[in-house]
Homo-oligomer: 349 residues x 2
DNA sequence: CTGTTAGCGCTTTCAG
DNA sequence: CTGAAAGCGCTAACAG
């Protein structure tokens, strides 16, 4: 069969060359009509090209454009776990913002494995993305930390821009979230409504986000007279980690703890279930607070007190920051806001 | 400054050419050492090339490879809404599976807008992805339906593979989910534990997934003696849609309805909140069941009865199917499974 | 405004 | 086994 791109058989996609021939113009004219910057092409020719393109079902080869132009329209996004609402909300923001700039997002998941993260960065770099956004903190004491930073720097040196969301890697652009301040404010408000004895469930030691939140919470208590003692349980920074962390806490006895602060909402939700399973009533027998304000926490019972983080906005701002939007850079840390709900009823003593 | 790729200044990324020069071998040898199929390169040379590459921090330009090879390592994924747990779970599966094949995933969100979807498919096609996966049903009666199908077919004709998850587009590969059978089984089980009077909250008319579920549910009731009457409320296929749909239902009066079946879990969760807000106790005053078994439904109260869909597995299988894994193709519709939880307690009458 | 042509970075014949 | 050279699809000078 002839390779005219119309038959039912399988054929290579039409190239710009094909379009030019079909329209009886030069390659350059075809290129200019289809993609060229300012329209400095005869309307007549232009029309012919557009029609030919439509007829052949032409779709510009982005890879070829990238090679020729020396620049891509790609944004790379690296998250720990796509199914986690924290990350999927951020991803939604990145994708939405990218879309307004007609950028394409490629996404990968580290599964919280630093080695994997490093390898993914290496692969993704091959795409020559304009921007690379990494979300999700890694252990502070990770052995591959240096290698990652080096890789990222090499990428920046070659013209890329990286933005880290809420984590620190020496010398790289970071979109800061006021985790610490938010946790501190939360602690204060909780003390203000009557709580005094607290326990904390958090992620592995060294996770920056988790650590900041716990530190902030501690500060807030210290300033207002709440006590945390040494009630800090560490477990996976996931729903199941929250669940098993809470179980651990219950097993060793609450000993007067009135409120459990989980360093993120998914953990808090897991904790809620553990409490309920133990035959206690969350909010009544023991209060729970989380952090992030992921969508579902309004719908659990009792609705969860938490610290609101504008997750989707985080994704949007990260991209804007990476693209060099000065404004975004100047705004400082993203502000968080305490949201008191039923999981922490006011108590009178 | 010299452009040696080592200084602190900004410099273009090292090319294969640079590596070849640095290693004192030809371009071809460098290429073969770094990426070439079977190692038919002198070990000595090979080593030199690898070292040079490391020294220059070389990262192969994927776009250039794509142009030269005429094929990419890209998978395109289109979903309605990334932040929706249904889609983010599927996406997690696609990304995980892609990773094992060293494929890169690019992701876009249609925001449930058919026009947008069409445009995205057009853009994504420019990437020449090996595979395109579309999840999330579109209205059956959409005017752009034909254009989409045509676009997709053109893509397939040019060598791409498309897989639709749980939706029908004339003549395209589809990963079927047994929505209908699952809903029917659910209906039967609900009748078996005592329910008789039902209402349904579902998405917009014409959404295939939603329609199948409602039809299946109806069939199940018909076979066992439950009644649905005309209690079918339509609203957005989202959490908020479930919430407002439930409110609508409550406002016009339950009139003896014992159980509300929401066509997906996010709607069911919204419904739960609406019920509670109305001062009723879900599960006790009115039972609720959903569909999908997204992670959070174990953690709401009461835990939600639903039909389990292996969401992440769906993503994995979609990709395998697209990549032409025969096995995946032969397995038929993905099976679903009823999961009875506390939101639908057994009732005796 | 239009066409010719030299690349972009990489792969892959095709000779040595 | 190695290297020279011809592309891959597209863009961007550069001449007309």
């Amino acid at each position: 069969m002839t390779d005219d791109g119309v038959g039912t058989g399988r054929s290579a996609p039409a190239t710009l060359h094909d379009v030019a021939r079909e329209a009886n113009v030069s390659l350059a004219t075809a290129s200019r009509s289809l993609n060229g910057s300012t329209r400095r092409v005869n309307e007549e020719y232009r029309k012919r090209v557009l029609e030919a393109a439509a007829r052949l079902d032409y779709s510009p080869n982005l890879s070829a454009q990238a090679v020729a132009r020396g620049t891509t329209t790609t944004v790379a996004l690296l998250v720990a776990d796509i199914a986690d609402p924290y990350f999927s909300s951020i991803a939604a923001g990145v994708v939405a913002e990218a879309d307004t700039d007609r950028l394409i997002v490629t996404m990968a998941a580290t599964e919280r494995d630093p080695e994997r993260e490093l390898e993914l960065v290496r692969t993704l770099r091959g795409q020559r993305p304009r921007v690379m956004i990494l979300a999700g903190s890694r252990p502070a004491t990770d052995p591959t930390e240096g290698a990652l930073a080096e890789e990222l720097r090499a990428y920046e040196r070659s013209g890329g821009r990286v933005v880290l969301i809420s984590r620190n890697e020496l010398g790289l652009r970071t979109l800061l979230v006021d985790d610490r301040g938010g946790a501190e404010a939360l602690a204060r408000e909780l003390v203000a409504i009557g709580y005094r004895r607290f326990a904390v469930i958090t992620g592995a030691e060294g996770l920056r986000t988790a650590a900041d939140r716990v530190d902030g919470f501690r500060d807030g208590l210290a300033a207002t007279g709440g006590t945390l003692d040494d009630d800090v349980i560490r477990d996976a920074f996931t729903r199941d980690g929250g669940y098993s962390g809470m179980r651990a806490l219950l097993e060793r006895g609450l000993h007067g703890v009135e409120l459990v602060f989980a360093a993120n909402d998914v953990m808090a939700v897991g904790a809620l279930s553990a409490i309920r399973e133990a035959g206690l009533v969350p909010g009544t027998d023991v209060a729970v607070a989380g952090f992030d304000d992921i969508p579902t926490v309004r719908d659990v019972t009792p609705a969860l007190t938490t610290v609101h983080v504008p997750l989707e906005e985080l994704g949007r701002r990260a991209l804007r920051l990476a693209l060099g939007d000065g404004e975004a850079a100047d705004e400082g840390a993203v502000q968080t806001e305490v949201v008191l709900r039923e999981s922490t009823p006011r108590i009178t003593r």
